[in-house]
C-alpha cells in the first residue's frame, strides 16, 4: 500500500514530462492575451478561473475578433465539455470520496493529468488513496500553468515564434496515446476521431472537439458489439 505522499509524488513525476510542452504553450497563451490588447490582470485571472489551456486563447481571440461574450463563453464551455468524459472515467476511482472532496478535486482535472492518472489507476486499482495521484498530476499542472502564463503575460512572447512550439501540444498527446497503437480497435477509434476532427473543424463554437469523440465512442461501441 502506498502512502498519500508517495502517490502524490508519483502523480507529480508521471505528469512532469508533459511540462516540456505545457510550459511553452502557457507562455504563448499569456503573451497572446496581452498582445490582443487585454488587461494583463484579466488575462491572468483566466488561468485561475478557467484554468483550461486552449480554451483561454480561443476565448480572447473570439472577443478581440468582435464576437459577443455569449459566443465566447459558449465556446469555452463546448471546448471544455470533453472533461465530462474524463469525469465519467474517473468517477469509478473517486467513488468513495466525500462530496466535498469530489468538488475540490474536480478543479484540477486536466487532459494530461487525466491521461496519466487513468493509466496509473488501471494498474493500481486496489490502492486506498488513489486520488492523491490525481491531486499530484493536477497540482503540478496548476502550478506550472500559473507560472507559465504569468511569465508570458509579464515578459511577452520571449519564446521565439519561429520555433513553432505550439507543435509541442499535439506531440504531448501523441506520447499519451502512442502505446495504444498496438491495439487495432484503439487504432480504429483514434483514426475515426482524428478524421472527424478535421472534417468538422469548421463547425461552430469549436464543437469538433466534442463531436469527434462522440462519433469515435459510437464506433467503439460498435466494435465492442462485433467483438462478442
Amino acid at each position: 500500500m502506498l502512502t498519500k505522499k508517495q502517490l502524490f509524488t508519483r502523480g507529480m513525476l508521471d505528469i512532469s514530462p508533459h511540462m516540456l510542452s505545457v510550459i511553452p504553450f502557457g507562455i504563448i497563451c499569456g503573451a497572446i492575451g496581452v498582445e490582443l490588447g487585454f488587461d494583463p490582470y484579466l488575462v491572468y485571472a483566466m488561468s485561475i478561473i478557467i484554468f483550461g489551456g486552449a480554451s483561454q486563447i480561443v476565448f480572447l481571440q473570439l472577443l478581440s475578433g468582435g464576437a459577443s461574450s455569449l459566443v465566447a463563453v459558449a465556446s469555452v464551455g463546448i471546448i471544455n465539455s470533453r472533461h465530462l468524459l474524463y469525469g465519467a472515467v474517473l468517477s469509478e476511482y473517486l467513488e468513495k470520496l466525500s462530496f466535498i472532496k469530489k468538488l475540490l478535486i474536480s478543479y484540477v482535472v486536466v487532459d494530461q493529468g487525466f491521461a496519466e492518472s487513468n493509466k496509473f489507476f488501471k494498474k493500481n486499482r486496489n490502492e486506498e488513496f488513489l486520488h492523491y495521484h490525481l491531486i499530484g498530476t493536477g497540482c503540478t499542472m496548476w502550478v506550472c500553468w500559473q507560472i507559465a502564463t504569468l511569465s508570458g503575460i509579464v515578459l511577452g512572447s520571449f519564446v521565439p515564434e519561429e520555433l513553432g512550439l505550439k507543435f509541442a501540444i499535439p506531440l504531448t498527446f501523441i506520447a499519451i496515446v502512442v502505446q495504444d497503437l498496438k491495439k487495432l480497435d484503439h487504432v480504429i477509434v483514434m483514426i475515426t476521431c482524428g478524421l472527424s476532427s478535421l472534417l468538422f473543424f469548421d463547425a461552430p463554437f469549436k464543437s469538433y472537439i466534442i463531436i469527434s469523440p462522440i462519433i469515435a465512442l459510437f464506433v467503439a461501441a460498435l466494435l465492442l458489439r462485433l467483438k462478442k
Partner: protein
Amino acid sequence: MTLTAIIFAGILTYFTRMTMIALISRDMLGDKIKAVLEYVPSAVFPAIIFPGIFINDFGTFIEMNDPKIFGALVAVLVGYFSKNIIATISAGLVSYWFLIFVVFS
C-alpha cells in the same frame, strides 16, 4: 464586462469537470457504458492531435509536404519504441526544426 464573461466561462468549465465526478455514481453507469469508456483517451486526444498537425494557424489545411507531418511521424515512431514522453516530444520537435531550419531554409 470581460471579467463577468471570464467568470461565467470559469463556472461552466468547472461544471464540465465536476458534474460526472461528483453527481454521477458508478452504479448509474452500466457495464456496456463502462466498456465504451475504456476508449475515452483514444476517442478524445486525436481531436487535439490531428488539427494540431494538419491545420495551420489560419484554419486551413497544410500541404502534404509540411514539416509537421514528418515531425509527427518521427514522434510516433520514437514514442512507440521508447515509451518515453520526453523522448517523444523532443524527437518530434527536433525533426521538425531540422526540416524548417536546415532543409527548407
